[in-house]
């Protein structure tokens, strides 16, 4: 039989997903493959689409600001500065445990993966619970229908919270799946959710930065 080479490798040398039954197999297969998994590109597409949506909101904020001499307009409360910036920084640190989790999963250390994700989840839930309370509290004083500044303020902040919620739900689902062991599918899922969290953390910094720029800049 002739020696068939495709894209620089033989069919036998190439890892096959359904051979990955336990963490050790999975980490061996993961080390064999080249480039990034299909799931990485999948989440990259979602991040590209969501980033365009969020940066349209941020662009709208600056566009409306360029149209009004006094920003925030007279009569609108100044945005909170210190607490949101600190919390955004805290949320950004959760990228570290998530990245370590995907590395651990790639190395087949399932227990370490689960612990790291749980750690990240706790901080994330802490962040979102305070923010939701703050968001609801702000809605007592002014409403989005007061003027354009309030409209874009609540839409931008609400959209960012929405993405944090989606990230949290993804983490919860990931923990449920990892609870039943590690397969290539769950490894890819961990990598994908990690990249999604890197995006959300960076996005939150940008959003809080934009909203606080009203007083800082």
């Amino acid at each position: 039989m002739t020696d068939y080479i495709f894209g620089g490798r033989r069919e036998g040398e190439v890892p096959r997903t359904h051979e990955g039954r336990n963490p050790r197999d999975v980490s061996h297969l993961a080390s064999q493959r080249l480039g990034v998994p299909v799931a990485w590109w999948g989440i990259a597409m979602l991040v590209a689409s969501e980033a365009t949506l969020m940066f349209t909101f941020i662009g709208t904020y600056y566009y409306l600001r360029s149209k009004t001499p006094v920003w925030p307009p007279v009569g609108d409360p100044e945005p909170h500065v210190v607490v949101p910036l600190i919390l955004a920084g805290v949320l950004a640190t959760t990228s570290l445990p998530m990245q370590l989790a995907s590395m651990a999963a790639r190395a087949g250390r399932l227990v370490a993966t689960r612990r790291l994700i749980v750690l990240a989840l706790i901080v994330q839930c802490g962040y979102i619970s305070y923010e939701m309370w703050d968001y609801q509290h702000e809605l007592q004083t002014t409403t989005p229908s007061h003027d354009a500044y309030e409209s874009i303020y609540y839409v931008l902040l609400g959209a960012d919270h929405g993405h944090v919620w989606i990230g949290i739900l993804l983490n919860v689902w990931l923990l449920a799946k990892l609870g039943r062991g590690l397969t290539m599918y769950r490894l890819n899922a961990t990598i994908a959710v990690t990249w999604y969290w890197h995006f959300v953390n960076l996005l939150t910094l940008f959003v809080i930065g934009t909203l606080t720029s009203a007083t800082l800049l």
């Binding site: 600001r65 360029s66 149209k67 009004t68 001499p69």
Partner: protein, 123 residues
């Protein structure tokens, strides 16, 4: 890094740098122009901003063009039909050599026309 790896990076720089810097020059240039002429107004003169943007974008595009030419010359023994990675690099180098010039023309038109026209007169 192997020679092929370096060539590959140069080729990707040739492809993405020109496109990226045009998008930046376009976004910032027209944004500053509108902001400068709107209610908030004020700020530095439009001509200064446009000249700086045009020069920076021009330099980056010429660098991208140079990168493409280097890759093109380095892969001269192959054709764009050859197997990867040399064939792929040659093809993208050939393509970007011509299209980077289009970006160069756009940023020149942007800068020059924005300076020649009277600032803050509505079209």
């Amino acid at each position: 890094m192997t020679r092929l790896r370096k060539l590959s990076l140069l080729q990707w720089f040739g492809l993405f740098a020109a496109a990226g810097i045009w998008l930046a020059q376009h976004g910032i240039g027209q944004g500053m122009a509108e902001a400068r002429c709107s209610a908030a107004g004020g700020g530095i003169s439009n001509d200064a901003v446009q000249i700086v943007l045009m020069i920076v974008a021009g330099v980056v595009i010429l660098a991208a063009e140079a990168a493409s030419v280097v890759v093109f010359r380095a892969t001269s023994d192959a054709s764009y039909h050859s197997p990867p990675p040399v064939g792929r690099m040659r093809m993208i180098a050939i393509a970007t050599m011509s299209t980077n010039l289009i970006f160069l023309v756009i940023i020149l038109l942007d800068g020059i026309a924005s300076i020649l026209d009277v600032a803050c007169r509505n079209s």
